[in-house]
């Protein structure tokens, strides 16, 4: 495959996505065959653009919160003072992963009510796990000679963390964030079952009114967002890895 082809495809996807969420009317003829009984082909109970932005905002807030907490926790349990918590935190992360998102979402409703909040909680909890796991891997598999050199250069524990450990594990941590974002993008749609304003609203409206066009457009926007964000974060990851002088397998 030619090297420029993937970039071209990506660019085309970006243009298509922007065109669709800003001017969905243009695509009406394409979606019309999927509807029955003269039902509307384009979601008409709200703007697709607003829903897309709200969807992204929900994912962003949850991911930022999850990143801060997960990295802080990983740092804590890899310091001598917190080493006692390391095995337990590992098993907790394993247990946490078995909680289905729908269950987390539904169980959060009685505590915080309907709307965006239960979705944020579910996305936050779900996002924690991959980031924590990757941060832990990054911080525990640093090359021994580098750590030795940093200690030999007289760096304090704090300096080592900021200047050596975190930058070196940045690519792996970014990998965890990427995984977490892609999961969150898809999971956020389930949030609309508890009245969160996300693209899930479009899909659910389609399921309820038996309108395939709605289901398709909601699903495709989310999938396109996920593919683009996944690619973008992969590129950032490769860039930081190169800057850290690490070889990547990809």
């Amino acid at each position: 495959m030619k090297a420029w082809l993937p970039s071209l495809l990506r660019l085309a996807l970006v243009v298509l996505l922007i065109a669709f969420v800003t001017n969905p009317g243009w695509f009406e003829p394409l979606l019309k065959p999927l509807t029955e009984n003269n039902a509307p082909a384009i979601y008409n109970q709200g703007s697709l653009l607003t829903l897309t932005l709200l969807h992204l905002r929900t994912v962003l807030i949850a991911t930022v919160a999850a990143t801060i907490v997960a990295v802080a926790l990983a740092i804590l349990v890899t310091r001598p003072a917190g080493a006692e918590f390391l095995p337990l935190s590992r098993s907790l992360v394993n247990i946490g992963q078995t909680f289905p998102p729908v269950a987390v979402l539904a169980l959060a409703v009685p505590a915080v009510g309907f709307g965006e909040k239960p979705t944020l909680i579910a996305l936050f909890l779900y996002g924690l796990l991959p980031i924590f796991e990757n941060a832990l891997t990054g911080l525990t598999t640093l090359p021994g000679n580098v750590m030795e050199a940093a200690r030999g250069a007289g760096m304090t524990g704090w300096q080592r963390l900021i200047k050596v450990e975190l930058p070196l594990s940045a690519p792996i941590i970014l990998g965890g964030i990427r995984l977490s974002v892609v999961i969150s993008l898809a999971t956020a749609t389930i949030g609309s079952t508890v009245a969160a304003k996300t693209l899930g609203e479009v899909i659910i409206a389609g399921l309820l009114s038996n309108n395939l066009a709605f289901v398709l457009q909601g699903g495709l926007i989310v999938a396109a967002l996920a593919v683009l964000i996944y690619d973008g974060l992969s590129a950032i990851e490769r860039y930081t890895a190169r800057r850290m002088g690490q070889e990547t397998g990809e």
């Binding site: 337990l88 892609v182 898809a186 079952t193 989310v222 996944y230």
Partner: protein
């Protein structure tokens, strides 16, 4: 002798202190949808039993707080958990006014925090004991039996979640078996298709990137959309392919849910098969070739057994994920525990949500523990054999 504190114990003791003295133990509601009134440990339990429970949790918390032997910590967490489990049932009976069938008693935040704190203690002890895989499954079986006994004994019958169950006992088991069938059936289909596909991808390099990319993109489609999108093609198949409708294939219901779960399951199975086969040491393959093994013999005699733990890891991911995703099948009439979750959300009846969510979490949790144990056993067995 100086007292030494356990770091995790400090956290546990703090949670216990808050939960036992400041949070509410049970919630009383006049009927199933009105907001509840909080009841503390003393209000929720008969006058002799409340202080007893408080004494048990305080002693257990002190054992957790200090550096104590593992056996003592194990005993403390188990005693506290069993006491909490039995006494929440007592609270249910005690708080329900005689002859009143509308009142709902449910565990409140304090109870859940206490359970969380002592589960944390138990998890820490079990992690530190470094149990063998079989012993871990044993612990799971004991816990399941204990919960089963409590359920059968009727000690929890006064609690709201079991009142919801009582109203729907038949459909609960029907939806439950649908849920398990969906999760396991789609897994089986994914393994039957995914394993050969993975082997093919391993052998034919040109195919690999293409297949994995397509499966990756399938994973990015949100589950509720994929469920919905399959309605139309399956509806068409049911209408146009003779015999399909008789097999139960229909636009809505179990069929699209099954196909969606199957599609989601393919990626982990195929990807892990490829990774597992790629990880087979070249020396092992060379030796097998040198012995004059045919391709097929090599596949089943050498490559497959060596790649098995990695493939199993893929299967574990799929099973846990499917048990969770099967809840969404309810949105398109596919049944499963999700029926209760979404009904409950619709009626704002949280007990009904719990009736769907708790068994789902329990199933996923049990599946994870059992498969983790199996993976560890196959991996160590191989290490012993090769050593």
């Amino acid at each position: 002798m100086t007292l030494r504190f356990d770091k995790l114990g400090v956290v546990i003791a703090a949670i216990v202190a808050y939960a036992a003295f400041f949070a509410s133990f049970a919630t009383f509601r006049a009927n199933r949808i009105v907001p509840g009134e909080a009841r503390s440990i003393f209000e929720a339990l008969p006058p002799t039993i409340g202080p007893l429970l408080l004494a048990i949790v305080v002693v257990a918390a002190i054992i957790a707080l200090l550096k104590t032997p593992l056996v003592l910590r194990l005993a403390a967490s188990v005693v506290a958990l069993v006491a909490l489990a039995i006494l929440i049932g007592v609270a249910g009976t005690f708080l329900t006014p005689a002859g009143n069938t509308f009142a709902r008693i449910s565990p409140a935040s304090g109870f859940w925090l206490l359970i969380f704190a002592f589960t944390l203690l138990l998890a820490d002890v079990l992690t530190r004991l470094n149990l063998s895989p079989l012993a871990r499954v044993g612990v799971l079986v004991i816990a399941a039996l204990a919960i089963g006994l409590l359920l059968i004994s009727g000690r929890w019958d006064s609690l709201s979640i079991l009142k919801e169950y009582g109203n729907r006992a038949d459909s609960f088991w029907a939806e439950g078996s649908k849920h398990v069938t969906l999760a396991l059936g789609s897994l089986a289909a994914a393994v039957i298709v995914g394993l050969p596909l993975g082997i093919l991808c391993h052998r034919v390099e040109r195919l690999r990137a293409g297949v994995l990319n397509v499966l990756n993109i399938v994973q990015t489609i949100p589950s509720i959309a994929l469920f919905g999108l399959l309605i139309a093609p399956l509806g068409w198949v049911a209408a146009h392919v003779p015999g399909a409708a008789a097999l139960g294939i229909r636009g809505i219901g179990t069929a699209p849910a099954f196909v969606a779960l199957f599609l989601y399951s393919l990626l982990p199975v195929v990807a892990n098969t490829v990774v597992g086969l790629a990880g087979v040491p070249r020396a092992a393959n060379d030796a097998a070739r040198g012995m004059g093994m045919t391709d097929r013999q090599r596949l089943f005699g050498v490559e497959f057994p060596l790649a098995f733990p990695v493939i199993l890891t893929g299967i574990r991911i799929v099973l846990v994920q499917n048990i969770g995703l099967a809840t969404i099948a309810a949105l398109i009439g596919g049944g499963g525990f999700g029926v209760f979750v979404f009904q409950g959300v619709g009626q704002t009846a949280m007990d009904l949500v719990l009736l769907g969510a708790v068994p789902t979490v329990a199933l996923a949790f049990a599946a994870a523990i059992i498969l983790d144990a199996v993976i560890e056993m196959t991996a160590t067995k191989r290490r012993v054999e090769t050593a």
